[in-house]
Symmetry: D2
Subunit: 350 residues, 4 copies
């Protein structure tokens, strides 16, 4: 009953197998290898666009490298106030970006609305030399609340960003979950909607450690190689990160894995609703948030269930019946089994 | 009728005179001179404590150097959301601090309350490795709203900060105005109340360009010399910044100048109240905020009055009668003349 | 005939197998797992000392994180002028270290001598506020020239560093090769000789992507977790980097693999000497440098041999017979086969 | 007998007078004032070119801001190994430049030669992703050795830099001394010879604290306002730094003052030669280097002479008769009096 995080899951077998297969003979290091070339082509095909792609081992790196490339040190990055880059990367974007500033925007279900974005851009003091300048709009897809942006929502936000000369970056640690749900093409969900750079995650989706920074305008990636190298994020045996992406993207594995995770989340939400614990936010990806009475929480923990208890402040709209009710986050993954869900719900109900 | 800023004023004559007197013969550069030594002693006397003091030319530098010394790059600096370091230094603290994070706290009249501080420290996610760690509480004295903290208020805030292993820094760009009003000693307003480092401003108070970073625990200033130098803030002809402080601090000039500024603000507020424009916040230093009807604003501007129009968001508590009412900030200084106030009010009334 | 680099080799089978075995069920991310704990204990045992160890995926990160921890932004890092951190990490130590300064020292065979170190420390201008302060001595073990420092050499250099209040960091990307040759314990080669922090490489030695920063004084690692996280180097599925180290360090695999690489280098050097191309420097690890006539170089390249041509400046002592002679670097690894060496030499001789 | 530095001199009377005159009434802060506009026009006229100019208070800031604007964090700045930015700014360019790398080039008399520059650019490993990329050539005019570059020398160096896509920055802390000697126009000595950005110093030449960063291609100064502000180098009462430049540049004061300093240096050098202590390098600006016997050095010091003793390494070509001979640097300024020179030489001779 492990719902702690999708990174508590292991490696999807086809991806581990790809690492094994790549371990054949010599290959030049640092990305000068055939597998890396192949992944670059796969990504161009997948996104139906010429892209510049750089692979790294962590999502923190992918997002921070992207943001640092798009914003000057005196730039502001507007993102949801619960965005991972804002709360959970120990200031990585600020470090990579030479001291840029993240500005957290409110939004009930993890999403930024056009009204909030407009108010922030029109209501504050922006621009040099005294104030930082809006430089990047960062959208998390799927969001920290487990919701997703539809392409038209991305498009409207991107349109506002564009009018303020901002670039649009997407934190796609759970991009696969979003695409699996949306039923639109990766292109429609990104560049066609105005996204400039995507941090595409594979790790949470089943890889060991593989993320890619994808520039839909390759010219915008100038000197990204240097930026990655000096951040220590150019892998020497690069073929093995490429191998992971190769397997992830081949034959739609990424969507197959994400679909399973999403379905497990759906089931979990449905069954919890059935016993009186409806999800706090719509379950659109692989995250379920619920309010549990203290005794249920204790029973689950005692039974070995693993999940995170959240600060109440992260869900202003959640309804707490009693002062000691707890807000919990349950994350499913490609490796979540139906029996775990059933057992979890059974313990919660008992 | 210039109420744009206290930095629109010039140099107080005794301070300019001190520069002239210091211009006698040779003196070693970079602070190895007698005047610099003298100012260091004056500051120890003034604060009734052994201090380490470093002089610089701008308040941005003084605050940013202090903060960078007190917080690691993964540290959080909690300050009022309207604090100058948050809104108006183009990310300087982040630059000096290697990408640290400023966290803006709400508070109606420019002041942080103990409740707000406690809520921020206890309600959020803090600490490594995923979250930044609270490192510095930065208080602005007088605040951007023209209010001041009383020593007991500082003390209570500092006590909370101390319990969370945070240092307390004070942005004292208008420290003189606060002391002139409070009628307490500089010691009582700072280290006795728990302040670790003060950025003491002289520029707004009448100097040409002179600020000092004052560490009440000299050991805490280790390597500040290097930090200042590599930021380009070690003046070569250092005696002239020292000369300004020498005059500023001698015979209570700093308080005489501040008292005048405060009194002018009091008069301005009183007279504006008399014609229906009461101050938005208590006038405790040399800033007066008021809501003016559009036609009054236009008439004043046409008559040559100089002041800043503020974003309404900066004063949530201000009452706007009509949609086009404007929130204005009026700043007095050592050089504000009574006749300017009278003329301003006359034009406003007319 | 691939002698391009030890990172052109793949993953040693026992290490790949360990990744496979670790892929069993769930494990908390970010290092909160049993395998990570196990590796930490293994490292304490191996070094016969309580250590703080942090695992990362690249050597650039391991070295740069270590250096940034030991030196302030105004610190100088003294290293060999051909050290990898100086020449080949695109400024990573400067980035991680907030703009610190690397100072390259001369030395014919990749090694810094006590005379050179003393001259640098006593002959230059050091110290604040105008000059950077010597903070770290960084030694590469084995060196870029394929030579190694004996413990007494390290000890004498560390003694000088200590007298100047400098910490001693060791870039151990090829530490295994050095230990395999020296026949001393890891403790003797490091903390017993005065090394404060070791960047211990496993990647070049046979892992996929695994390096560790090892502090022999755990107190010195304070806040390293935050430093690693905000640099994007905390792996989410951390158990898989731990698994690599687990296999690497178990049953002396690391030394077995390194010994093979060293032996292959010995054979290569011996056979090349036999046909008139003696090594430029003593072959003490897994690198062989030789001067080859242009036609031999061309023949080898045509036959598919892979290796790097070096700038002549990197080997001032090498003897070039003809203007178009080339200086080449040949690197062996755990996976180098004897037949490749024989074929290489046969082609070179032909 | 103060020959310690030109920053040990005070403020030239006309410049102090200009500060006094500027102290009349109110003026908007942060450079939005008439005097600042006036200086910008003066600089365009002086350089016979449209320029973007930003004034700051220190040379460290002027150089570092210029370099940070011209080089990316992964850029290399090539400069003389004795350049002030390399040796005496405690790593300021690295700090402002986000961790860029300074590369010191040899050169006997403070000057870089075309041969040395070519060798550095063609002989090393440059370029991404592994190596830093040459980005800026920084020339010091006059040099730390008191010599100057002639326009054709600058032109040939700039031509090489241009071929490697590097910008050319000039540290002109003593630009006035160079121009006073060269007898060419400021334009000929800068942009006509290929200089992109000049850090023009007034402080050493007689101002209190006034330097300017001058971009000969104004487009290249984009966002310099933000860069300056966040470094704490935008003066609030900006009119007073402008006033200094206004006086400095009006009626050729800058050249009058520099000419006097140069003449004093000439006399000092001539008289010292006459008593057996010829200058180590040609005296072309206001610096005289000489080798003095220990007893002469002691006698001068006892008599109150003030000057710096240099490390012997800084002058490889200097001839030392005895082991305890000292290399001294004597700096003249606008305020050096003939009688001081005569007295100095008399004591030295005695």
């Amino acid at each position: 009953m492990n719902f702690a995080s999708d990174n508590a899951a292991g490696i999807a077998p086809p991806i581990l197998d790809a690492i094994r297969q790549a371990n054949d003979g010599f290959a030049l290091g640092y990305g000068d290898d055939a597998l890396t070339r192949r992944v670059e082509h796969l990504l161009c095909d997948l996104f139906e666009h010429d892209v510049a792609a750089l692979m790294v081992a962590t999502g923190t790196a992918a997002n921070s490298l992207a943001i640092a490339q798009l914003a000057p040190p005196w730039g502001a990055v507007l993102c949801h106030r619960e965005a991972h880059i804002m709360t959970s990367e120990c200031g990585a974007p600020e470090f990579f970006g030479g001291g840029l500033k993240l500005v957290g925007l409110p939004g009930d279900d993890g999403r930024i609305t056009t009204d909030v974005l407009k108010a922030a851009l029109e209501g504050g003091e922006w621009g040099g030399p005294h104030h930082v300048s809006p430089a990047v709009l960062s959208l998390t897809q799927a969001t920290e609340a487990g919701t997703i942006y539809r392409p038209d929502q991305v498009g409207r936000l991107a349109e506002i960003a564009r009018r303020h000369d901002m670039a649009v970056q997407m934190d796609g640690a759970r991009f696969a979950n979003a695409i699996a749900r949306l039923g639109v093409s990766p292109a429609e969900a990104t560049w066609k909607a105005g996204v400039d750079v995507l941090a595409l995650g594979a790790t949470k989706g089943g890889a060991m450690a593989a993320e890619a920074v994808i520039f839909f305008d390759p010219a915008r990636a100038a000197a990204m190689g240097e930026r990655r190298k000096r951040a220590g994020h150019l892998m020497s045996k690069h073929r093995f990160v490429a191998a992971q992406f190769d397997a992830f993207l081949t034959d739609g594995l990424w969507l197959t894995l994400a679909r399973h995770a999403n379905q497990m989340a759906d089931q979990l939400a449905q069954k919890l609703s059935g016993i009186g614990f409806p999800p706090v936010w719509p379950v659109e990806a692989n995250l379920v948030f619920a309010v549990l009475p203290q005794e249920v929480h204790k029973r689950l923990t005692a039974a070995g269930a693993s999940y995170y208890e959240m600060h109440r402040d992260t869900a202003p709209s959640a309804k707490f019946g009693r002062p000691d009710d707890v807000l919990v986050r349950l994350v499913t993954s490609f490796s979540t089994r139906q029996e775990d869900i059933e057992r979890f719900v059974a313990v919660a109900r008992a």
